[in-house]
Structure formats: structure tokens, C-alpha cells
Symmetry: C2
Subunit: 606 residues, 2 copies
């Protein structure tokens, strides 16, 4: 069984050489503890935990899945023990404030941890991932009492958390939520309704589970403006940090899914369960969306992780498995056939995975600095700063989540393809990566929703194209500086062309959309993908620039590493980036080709 | 549970209006019985069988899977009864010669049957599909006695068949086959070895199973020139059409797979099993490959089928599920939200599925006429004619198999995407289509192998570009005739541009490959995909031309149907065809970007 090896060399390249995280941390009000030594030690220890504890449970967890018996969910063998190690290691509170029991480190360090955990074992990582969503919500909107009661045990990892949004009749369209919350004399509420697709809704990893629930107060306005947020714990707190009475919330059934089978996806029944209002009445959606950008970047990891994991396993296989001779002549004459890795078409697949894993990681680490500033703003009580960085992050979020999960899925499929027919067999694990990854383009907002969020909301509505102008200006400034170097010049020229094109596309859509409202939805997916390819091109140029500099000035210690970066950048620009032009062409085609066909004429029988 | 509805209207459009099959059948030496009435009746009866018998077993077969107990494989509940109906209906011998008990109809009618069966229930359709492979091999290479003994019960469907090629150490690279066949005094052979990935290797549907096995005679030359072909029956024939003694071949285990779980994929152990040489010694690979083109077109169906099935289910869901409001204003004001089908981005996904299903079907039906002529050549004993049509078919085969299975998989994924999170839940069946379809780009030659076969073998080696010239000439001739019609002109101009480009790309690769052998492997995948997009564009223009003609001259009876064809053609040209240009750009990029990175430098740890 193949296993995960944390790509620490690549991570440190990004942290120390490309994005200068040491200086970044010094600039943060909560960054003083994030010294290079500490960060190094944390990454190393996290890598060990992921490689030795989480990775070995990846396949067994899929085979066994979760079970619901007598109303209680049990996770696969070994998950409870692994989670206990996670708690003991203090991993849940890594980026949480010290005053609630966390280690007070910047948010980005939590993201690096999430990346390694999610790559080693996505299903496992969802349990603490969902807790983090609950923690963020309580931290920002909870009362002092709620923080003391819920946030502290959540930060310890002793309790788990969930986000209960979706109902049978609505997922994306939360204005249709029907769950009710009726006020009680004691200030609490009785919450009644059914929530579906609740990740970590029930499990045996923690002594309590804190559900954050969207529900409607009596006589609340219709639609999204009548939704409030409630804390509904599985067990009511006993007031001393422990648990008391069982609350009226239970797991009705477990969903049978394509993948992430070790993650419990629950139908949750709230049957007059005791809940507590969090945040202002009827502003539940806003409260819920506060950390939406960070949650979505958390999901963007599921684009990078599968590309990395699938690449590691496919690369190993391509080095060992022999089939046919390379077209340019025998490479392994002592064997009956050459290793797969000598075939150009196999390399095309492997390099696509590599370019997506490393390019996607760079996109994550680029965005993580913005998340750090946003969180620092919150901690400093500087709402304006927090909002400003949330906006910057908000532009990148749909690109990261939408584009990276699509390419992560493609990469996982290519990894499977490298294995040939063996990729289809469960024991190799490649098809599991595909099944597990398939969810990433669906939850936390489908790719279509990310595309609309990017083009309709972030680009057109909120900034009238300003978000694109601001980001492309940064790219163009970088590119212009690279024009003088022979090796960088092709990348720089391409970036300059693409940034101009990105702005032009934005303006053309903006003008046309005034008369043709459907155009935004018609163009959104192509716009998202175009944006993604250009953003990743920017990252590859940033990495190439560092590689060139190190090769020229850094001695030859790691020349192979930097040459590999340059070669991968070249591959990306030559063979993946041309797809951006197909999206540009399709994006500008008439809305008519999508809308003219009447719904009743889309299929004819007999 | 959604169910399959055979797209008879679309099938008949292709048969009668686009490709004029009635006239085609009249021109065939074995086509006299294929009158329009007969074909209609067969299609209708087959549709009924697929809709009422096979489709209801689709999901249950996946849930239950196959079982191996006491050395015998059992298929899921209901499969045996369904197969019995299939035998009773005489479906297996539909296109087999009358002298061996078949109905003597042209090969294409068998393909239309396969399409419907494969769309309704791919796993089920593999059992008779593999038998067909065995039948074809015996028909062409078997002795009279072998034909009488094996082909007759196979044609009845009373016996099943397999193709035993792959071994643990080799799939694509069959020169590495190790299974041995030792001659015995009675003229038979003892066959010993292990074969893997044997579809239908064992099951309970038939009273006997006829394995066609690749093996080596003692002292056979190394590599592909030392492989012979053997018939190894599960039970030795009793000489009276029944079965006698159990032979030394058995199923060692069933593979656990991602999908097609109702299809038994077996490890087959041959333990001194009695076998009979079929065809000449050491020419087993050639014999095996005789019907490779038809087998691969059979697999190309797995591109069209999933696109069709997934489209049918996604379309139904998109009409019923409501979420948000359309950007151009309320479409269903009486409801809390508009149906998904009113969102442009959802339509993008649905129309992609539709364009692939209908465009892919057209590609199959186009190729099926060539298959008819090839088979007719064989039946007439006209080897030259058979070979000529096999060559024409041979050019299209990798395009159909490689391109359609890739797009079929994309379409299945889009169907799942239309369902949002619900697509990931097993009960909706969408994720099963994705899992089942994933095998299609892997078996019968991976996409990479199809690409090499197309560019390296069919285009460069065998015809020095002539295959492209011949096919594009046909397309260009058609396109030029369409230039005068305003509605057809955009399609025709694009086709003329693309056919010239296809030739130019071919010439450029041909010249460059003389110095750079790796280029063929480096460019192959992009060349395959480019070829696929252009071929499908040709098909959409052919369909559009018929639609235009019918709209102008055919009255208004079915104007909606023809308008839908035109709208879909427009969608295809505007939104999918631009991808061809991304492939063209990538194809011509330097081989260096794939080959320069040393295998040892593709990953760095620590």
C-alpha cells in the first residue's frame, strides 16, 4: 500500500524562498511566536503525525466506513486513537487565540497543517475541519458565556463541531430553510427540523458535538433575511466543562456516498432540541458566512491534496512498472521493457499532476498570507482591516476553491490513468483518491456557485471589475521586472498578454451583461477557469523567478530542485495554459447558444 | 430510481435521415433482410428489453456485485433471468451468419443493440459483449470442427466466451506474455499460467464458458512473434453439443473494482488446462487483433452510453429541482425558486452531455457502416475488400474509442454535478455512472494507447498522413456544399479551417518526428483529442444540414426536433469546439517540456 510523504521541501520553498513567510510573520501582531524554528518544528511534527498515523488509516477507513447503530455513529477502526493523538498534540488549537486555550499562531500555520492532514487522509481531516468552522463562528459571534462554555472544549479538541445548513429542499438556496426555533421562557429555543449532508453530524471521536444550526424564528421574514443561527449541543453542558443531559438532536441515518466513506455524513433530526441564539436575530446567514472564505480555502486544499497524493503514488508506479520501449530507443536495455516514466505521454500525465499540486499549493500559500492579515485584524478589533483583507481574499477564494478542485479531480484521474487497468482496482488506492476527491467540486458551493460568486459578485457587483484590475496590476508589475532575464522572458510576456486579456474580457462581459443578464451565468464557468489558469501561471512564474535567482546566486547545492521548478513551469506554460484561450473563446460566445433551446425540447422520446 | 428510455427518435434520425441506412443495407450482400420494417421492429423490441429488463437491474447489480464461492462465480439477483430472456430473444446471434444459427443481419444492427444494452446496464452487457469477441475470433480463425463445436452454442448464447490476454506483468505490452501451452499426443495442449482482469471469466449465466487464451508454445520466439491462440473451454464439450468433464481452468479471485461491479472481473488460473490451437502457430496476436477495431468501437459505446444515461437523469432533475432565481428574472413565479434548468450554467452542463451523447452516437453510426462493409467482405471471402474497410475503420477506431470515452466520462461527471451534493449520494445513481464509466478510458487500450495507435501507426507509419488527407477531403467536400446556406455557413467555414489545420498539424508532426522520435508520444494525446473534436464537429454539421433541409422542406411536424439539433450544433461549435485549439497549441510545443526533467528529479523529499 502506497503511503503519504509530506512534501516538506516544496512547502519550505514556498514559505521561505517564494513568499518570505518569516518576514510576513514578523509583520503580524500575532506572529511573534511563529519563528522559523517553531514553524519548522511544527511542520516536521505534523508531517510525522500525518505520515505515521493518518496515512495508514486512509484505505482501511474507506473499506470499513462509518456505522450507525442504536442511534450512535462509530468511525472506522483506529480513528478514535488517531484523534486522541491529535488532541494530545494540541493540534486543534494551533491557530486559535491563547485566551481560549489555543497556541495563538497565525491562521496560515493551521492551513499548512490542514493541507498535510487532508492529503494524508481527507476523511479524517474533516472531523477537526468542521470543528474549526464552529470555532470560528463562536469566536466571532458568541457571547462571553458561549465562548467559555463551547469554544474552550472545541479548541482543546475535546468536543467536536458541525455546521448545519442544508435541508432536503435546499442547499445553495438557503433562503428556503424551514427549520424552526421557538423561544422558551428561559431564553433558550426549541429547534425543530431536518438537516441533511451534515459532515461529522455524529461520531465517537469526542465527548460532545456542538452543532451550529440555521433556523427561523417564528414570524421571521421570508427568505435569507429571516434566518438566525443557533448553538445546539449534542449533550447540554453541565456548567463545569463537562456534559450533562442528552439533547433532542440525533442522527437519523448515514448517507451512502461515492467516497469519503470514513467521514460520517448524517441526516440530523432536531426534535425540539434546546438551542441558544448566537449573533443577532435574523442575521444568521451573515454570521455563518463570516468565515466562508477561509472555509472555502479549506476546501481548495482538496484540489491540491489529491493531486499531490495521486502524484506520489503514480510516480512510484511509473518508475517501477515496465511496458513497451520508449519511442526514442531503449532506456532500460537490461529489462524486457522500459519503465513507464520514459514514455512522453505518461510524463504528460505526471507533470500535469505535479504542476497542479505545486502550482495549487503556491496559490494556497499566497492566499494564506491574506488570511493571516484578516484574522489579525479581527484579533486587533480592527474591523476595517479585517474587512479589507477579507475582500482581497474574497476575490481569490472562488478561484482557489472552484479551479483547484476541478484540476485536483483531473489530476487524481490522471494518476489513476497512469496505473492503466490496475488503477481501477481498489487495492492500489488510486480509484479511492478519485472517489474521495469528487465531492470537492460539489460541497461548500459547487463550481457553478464559485463561478457566479467570482464573476457576478466579487468582480462585477462589488468592484465593477476593480478586483481584476487590482490583481492583474500586481501580476503585470511582477512580470515587467522579469523581462530582462532570458529564462523568465517567455513567462513574463505571456503573463502580460494574459493580464491585459483578463481585463478586456471583464470589461466586455460587464458591458454586454447590462443588456443580457443571463450572460453572467453563461460566462461564469469559463471566466472562473480562465482566472484560475492565469493565477496559476502567475504562481509558476513567481516560483520560476526564485529558481532562476537561486541557480544564479545560490550555489549549486540544490540545482536539481530549482531546475525541476523551471522545467515544470515550462511544462505548465506550454501544455496547460493554452486551455485558458479555449475558455476565453467560449466565454464570449452568445448567450443564445445556451438559452434558446426550450426546456421541453431538450429531449425527444419515441 | 431513474430509468433508461431508449432514444429511438434520435437513433432513427441518424439511421434514416442522416446516414440513409435503408439504402446502405440494400447495398450490402448480407443486408437484404434489414428492411426498414425489420430494423424498426428490432430496435423497438430491443428498447423494450433494455428499458424493462436491464435498466431495473442497474443499481441493484452495483449494490450486490458478483460473488465467488466454492470456486464458482454468481452474478447479482435477476441477472440470470434477464440473460435467459436475452437468449430466448435470439439477441446474441443478431448479426451472426445464419449457417451458425445467427440471424444474418448486418453488423451495425448488433451495434445499435449493444448501444441500448450498454446504456441501460453496462455491466450486464459485458457478458454477451465478451462472448461476441470469442465468436468473432472463432468465426474467422477456427477450424470447421471448432466452429461447429463452439461457435454454434456461443451464437445461441447458451455458452459464454472470454478473451484472456492480460497477465500480472503485462497488459498493453503483450510481448511479455508467459502463459505456456505444451503440445499433447492427441493434438491438444496443456495450458498453464495466470490471466488477470478477465471480464466474464466465470459466472452463472451460461452452461459453459469458452476462453480464448494467448499463450506460448515451447521454444516459441520471444516477444509478440511467439504468441499463439488457444480455445480453453470451462467444460470440455461432450461431442453432442453439451458439456462433459470440467477443465483445469478456474477463477482464483474476483477483483474489487471502482465500478462495473455486476461484471465479474476474474483472475483466471490455467493449471494444465486442455486447450486447442486456433489459427496458425505464433500468429496469435494477429488473430486476436482481427476484430480489434470492432471491439474498440464496442468500447466507444461506453462514451456515448453514459453521456446519454446521465443526461436523461440530470435533465429530469434539472426540470424538477428548484434553486435560486434565473439571472434574467423569475421563471417560475408561483414557486419559491426557479427550476435548475433556467440557469445558464446548468444548461452548459446539460448541453455538453447532450452534444456528446448525440454527436458521439453519430460518430458510432457513421463508423458502423464501414464495419458493415468490412464484415460483408469477410462473408463474401473478399479479403481485399475486408482489409480496405478495416483500414478506413482503423483510422476512426482510436478516435472513437479514445475521444468518446474521455468525453463520456466528462459528461457523466457533469450529470453528477447538476445534482449538486445529491449527485454524490449513491441512491441517485449518478455517481454509479461515473464509477462505471471510469474504466472506459483504461481497458481495450488506454487513451494513451489509442493516441499512439492513431498518430504513430494509422496516420504516420501506415499512411504517411494519407488517412487524415482522405478523411478531411470528405469533410471539406461536404462543407463546401453548405457554404451557400446562411444557417450552415458558420459551421462550414469552421470545418474548412479545421480540416486544413488538421492536415497542417499532421505534416508538421511528421517532419519534426524524423529528428525527434519522442515527439509522436508527446503530441499523441493532443492529436487524438483534436481529431475527436473535429470529427464530432463534422457529425454536428451533418446533422445540422439535415435539420435545415427538413425545416425548409419537410413541413413543420417536427420543427422542435430539428430546431433542437441546430441549437445543439451551435452550442457545440461555440462552446466545446474551441478546446481543439488548446490541443493544437499544446501539440506543437517542444518535446523538451516533457522529457528534460530527469526521472529522479520529479520529486524531492525533505
Amino acid at each position: 500500500m502506497p503511503t503519504y510523504k509530506a512534501p516538506l521541501r516544496d512547502m519550505k520553498f514556498l514559505l521561505n524562498e517564494v513568499f518570505n513567510y518569516p518576514r510576513h510573520y514578523q509583520s503580524l501582531s500575532n506572529g511573534e511566536n511563529a519563528t522559523p524554528d517553531i514553524v519548522d518544528a511544527i511542520l516536521g511534527e505534523c508531517a510525522r503525525f500525518c505520515e505515521e498515523v493518518l496515512s495508514p488509516l486512509y484505505q482501511s477507513g474507506d473499506e470499513e466506513g462509518c456505522k450507525l447503530e442504536n442511534g450512535e455513529v462509530t468511525t472506522p477502526k483506529g480513528y478514535k486513537e488517531a484523534y486522541q493523538q491529535y488532541v494530545t498534540g494540541g493540534w486543534q488549537g494551533l491557530s486559535a487565540p491563547e485566551e481560549v486555550g489555543g497556541q495563538g499562531l497565525p491562521a496560515s500555520i493551521g492551513l499548512f497543517k490542514q493541507e498535510m492532514m487532508g492529503t494524508a487522509n481527507w476523511s479524517f481531516s474533516m472531523y477537526p475541519g468542521l470543528s474549526l468552522g464552529a470555532m470560528n463562528t463562536i469566536q466571532l459571534h458568541g457571547s462571553e458565556e458561549q465562548i467559555a462554555t463551547y469554544l474552550v472544549p472545541l479548541t482543546e479538541g475535546r468536543w467536536g463541531g458541525t455546521m448545519c445548513l442544508t435541508e432536503p429542499q435546499c442547499g445553495t438556496d438557503l433562503g428556503q430553510v424551514r427549520t424552526k426555533a421557538e423561544p422558551q421562557a428561559d431564553g433558550s429555543y426549541k429547534v425543530t427540523g431536518t438537516k441533511i449532508f451534515i459532515s461529522s453530524g455524529d461520531h465517537d471521536l469526542t465527548e460532545n458535538i456542538v452543532h451550529i444550526v440555521l433556523a427561523r424564528l417564528p414570524d421571521a421574514p421570508k427568505g435569507t433575511r429571516g434566518i438566525s443561527l443557533f448553538i445546539v449541543p449534542k449533550f447540554l453542558p453541565d456548567g463545569n466543562g463537562g456534559v450533562g443531559e442528552r439533547n433532542g438532536v440525533s442522527c437519523g441515518s448515514l448517507e451512502k456516498k461515492m467516497g469519503i466513506k470514513a467521514s460520517a455524513t448524517c441526516v440530523m433530526n432536531f426534535d425540539g432540541a434546546t438551542g441558544f441564539l448566537i449573533g443577532p436575530e435574523n442575521e444568521g446567514l451573515n454570521c455563518m458566512f463570516t468565515f466562508m472564505n477561509t472555509a472555502r480555502i479549506g476546501t481548495a486544499i482538496q484540489g491540491v491534496g489529491p493531486a499531490e497524493l495521486s502524484y506520489q503514488w503514480a510516480l512510484e508506479y511509473a518508475r517501477e512498472r515496465r511496458s513497451m520501449r520508449a519511442l526514442s530507443g531503449k532506456k532500460d536495455p537490461q529489462h524486457a521493457a522500459d519503465a513507464l516514466i520514459h514514455h512522453a505521454d505518461v510524463r504528460r500525465m505526471l507533470l500535469t499532476q505535479k504542476a497542479v499540486a505545486e502550482g495549487g499549493r503556491a496559490m494556497l500559500y499566497y492566499a494564506a498570507r491574506l488570511a493571516d492579515h484578516m484574522v489579525a485584524g479581527h484579533l486587533e478589533g480592527d474591523d476595517k482591516k479585517a474587512a479589507a483583507y477579507d475582500d482581497k481574499l474574497g476575490f481569490l477564494t472562488p478561484i482557489l476553491k472552484g479551479f483547484l478542485t476541478e484540476l485536483g479531480y483531473e489530476s487524481a484521474n490522471l494518476g489513476m490513468q497512469v496505473f492503466g487497468g490496475h488503477g481501477y482496482i481498489r487495492e492500489h488506492g488510486m480509484e479511492q483518491i478519485v472517489r474521495d476527491t469528487r465531492i470537492a467540486t460539489l460541497y461548500e458551493g459547487t463550481t457553478g456557485i464559485q463561478a457566479l460568486d467570482l464573476l457576478g459578485r466579487k468582480v462585477l457587483l462589488m468592484t465593477q471589475g476593480g478586483a481584476v484590475r487590482e490583481f492583474t496590476l500586481k501580476i503585470a508589475n511582477f512580470a515587467r521586472k522579469q523581462l530582462t532575464d532570458k529564462r523568465m522572458r517567455p513567462f513574463a510576456l505571456e503573463l502580460l498578454k494574459l493580464t491585459a486579456q483578463w481585463n478586456l474580457l471583464t470589461v466586455r462581459i460587464m458591458l454586454a451583461a447590462r443588456k443580457d443578464r443571463d450572460l453572467v451565468s453563461a460566462a461564469a464557468n469559463d471566466f472562473l477557469m480562465f482566472s484560475g489558469y492565469v493565477t496559476m501561471a502567475y504562481m509558476w512564474a513567481r516560483m520560476a523567478a526564485v529558481a532562476v535567482d537561486k541557480l544564479d546566486n545560490g550555489g549549486n547545492d540544490a540545482a536539481e530542485f530549482y531546475n525541476a521548478k523551471l522545467a515544470t513551469a515550462e511544462f505548465y506554460y506550454d501544455r496547460l495554459l493554452p486551455r485558458a484561450q479555449a475558455h476565453a473563446t467560449s466565454m464570449l460566445s452568445p448567450t443564445r447558444n445556451l438559452m434558446q433551446l426550450e426546456a421541453d425540447h431538450m429531449a425527444f422520446t419515441a
